[in-house]
């Protein structure tokens, strides 16, 4: 028998001999967990108070290092989409978003060191930095996210390349979807610090910048001669920026799709994990299922036992029934259809994006599309269903 097999067996025997009072461990954890939440809430309040004091002097420069907003209040009052004053992301969530985005963009990362700062203040960007080995040497990628009102005119210059004459950039391309890719070499440094950056204005109200440098740290830029180019090309940076965009919801907070602990994320491209990430938090998921291009959940009201079937799918083409067009060009169609069983109503919201991605989300006031009615009303409202269908997170599910 191999040594590894012996070891596995010995570990199982040894571990199996340890016993504990599981109930008291669970109760102790609950007490600690409540304290942890209370501390987070207190830090948000303290952060807000500090913010008021700092607002007079704080610059709103993208890429600045704000103080770490280490927590946020999940139980705060409901926020409306379009309230661009609310922003709450923790340092750990920023680190996870950057790390997951790198994985999703297919960047080979060895020995990563990730560091982030959170923010609970609209005027202060949240940031994250990852230093890693890319196979040719050390590299760094930085991320900065600031909460903004996308209608602000001043933001346009950040996503529009200046005239070539007198431009600080070696290269700059203004792209559709409110995005600019900039490449430049900072003069005056030994060897030149080369940087590629993608700046993006999300319709959800975030100014996102991801950048890669050809040096791991600013200190090294002063001394080390670096001739190689940044390894992460603009296409991959753009993909990373899209991931960050899809990781933040309209209400000013990140969703679980982007902030999941790296390594625990779902298979990319699947519909179900995105659907679960986008459902309102108040809903309790009773069961779930789906294939790659379709996902569904059954949500339940635990008091009444009423259930609602919610499904999402990516469709290639269907009869078009658009009755609204959003500011970013997305066409939205909402319908109420009669189900197969008496009293069952299918609420259907479709969203067709300018890039051709068509997502259809439906809810039935029944445990499945062919089941008998379970309650007069759906557990999810039409507005909530529309928010799910039009979320930019779907752009990551293709």
């Amino acid at each position: 028998m191999r040594f590894e097999d012996d070891l596995g067996r010995a570990l199982r025997h040894t571990a199996g001999a340890f016993t504990t009072d599981r109930r008291s461990l669970a109760e102790g954890s609950l007490v600690r967990g409540r304290r942890r939440l209370a501390r987070r809430r207190a830090s948000v309040v303290a952060g807000s108070a500090l913010t008021v004091a700092l607002l007079a002097t704080a610059g709103a420069q993208l890429g600045g290092q704000g103080g770490a907003g280490k927590g946020r209040d999940h139980a705060s009052k409901p926020r409306l989409a379009g309230d661009y004053r609310h922003f709450a992301v923790t340092a750990e969530e920023m680190e996870n978003i950057l790390h997951n985005g790198m994985n999703r963009a297919g960047i080979a990362v060895a020995r990563p060191k990730v560091q982030g700062t959170g923010s609970s203040d609209q005027a202060r960007p949240a940031t994250a930095t990852i230093d890693f080995e890319d196979g040719w040497g050390a590299a760094r990628v930085t991320l900065s996210v600031r909460r903004v009102d996308p209608a602000e005119q001043d933001l346009k210059k950040l996503i529009t390349c200046p005239p070539e004459k007198g431009s600080p950039y070696e290269e700059c391309t203004t792209q559709p979807d409110n995005r600019a890719v900039k490449g430049y070499t900072e003069a005056g440094k030994a060897g030149g610090v080369k940087k590629w950056a993608v700046t993006m204005l999300s319709p959800n109200g975030y100014l996102i910048e991801v950048a890669t440098h050809n040096v791991p740290m600013a200190k090294q830029a002063e001394s080390a001669l670096v001739s190689r180019n940044p390894r992460m090309n603009p296409g991959k940076l753009r993909s990373l920026a899209m991931f960050v965009d899809g990781s933040f919801a309209r209400d000013g907070e990140p969703n679980s799709f982007g902030t999941v602990v790296p390594g625990a994320e779902a298979e990319s491209g699947d519909i179900l994990p995105v659907l679960k990430a986008l459902l309102p938090e108040r809903l309790h998921i009773h069961s779930e299922g789906g294939s790659g291009a379709e996902g569904h959940v059954v949500v339940i009201d635990r008091k009444t036992g009423k259930r609602t079937y919610v499904e999402a799918m990516r469709i290639a083409g269907d009869k078009e029934f658009w009755n609204e067009t959003l500011a970013d060009g997305t066409k939205v169609g909402t319908r109420r259809l009669t189900g197969k069983q008496p009293g069952v109503v299918q609420l259907r919201v479709d969203a067709l994006r300018v890039n051709g991605l068509w997502i259809s989300v439906s809810a039935y006031n029944a445990p499945s599309p062919t089941s008998r009615r379970s309650g007069a009303q759906h557990l999810i409202t039409e507005e909530e269903l529309k928010a799910v269908a039009t979320s930019r997170t779907w752009l990551l599910a293709r």
Binding site: M1, F3, E4, D6, L7, G8, R9, A10, L11, R12, H13, T14, A15, G16, A17, F18, T19, T20, R22, R23, L25, A26, E27, G28, S29, L30, R32, G33, R34, R35, R36, L37, R40, H74, H99, V109, A110, R111, P112, V114, S256, F257, V260, V261, P262, G263, A264, A266, P273, K276, A277, L279, E281, R282, L283, H284, I285, R302, K303
Partner: protein
Amino acid sequence: MRRSRTWSRTDEFMEFAAGRAGHLHRSACLLTSGDTHLAEDLVQETLSRMYALWGRMSRIDNPAAYAQTVLVRTFLTQRRRYSASERPLAELPDGPALHDGNDPALRLALLQALRELPPKDRAVVVLRYWEDRSVEETAHALNVSSAAVRSRSSRALAKLRERLGGSLAELRTPA
């Protein structure tokens, strides 16, 4: 309404925590090489983090695996924090509460050998050979590359083989 939501959240969490505490505790005992007090602290810390995330837990595909990853990461973070004051001891600081006395010699020798491994190597051993995770899954859980897991695993196995005399089977006390 608010009271009902709070109760529901607590209820669900307690069900999960009580269900997973045993397995997490056994993992933690291996990670701490038999320090049961530290292991209980580690489990409570892990589950308290899970509680803080509980509002979003229904969106995580495998909460049990997620908790296991949080446990290992919390262990490594605590080890880093306390590493400056940590000193290896000849004896285990706290005798493990072993209730099954079939082969105590093996277990004590194994725990002592685990204790002599660096924390990250110990985490690799626990994830690979107790949790039966693949190299890639272990790499994800520890935030390192697959090559680093292979290298740590190989180094740890060599040390354990050297320390345990090449065959764990021989250490078993005859029944």
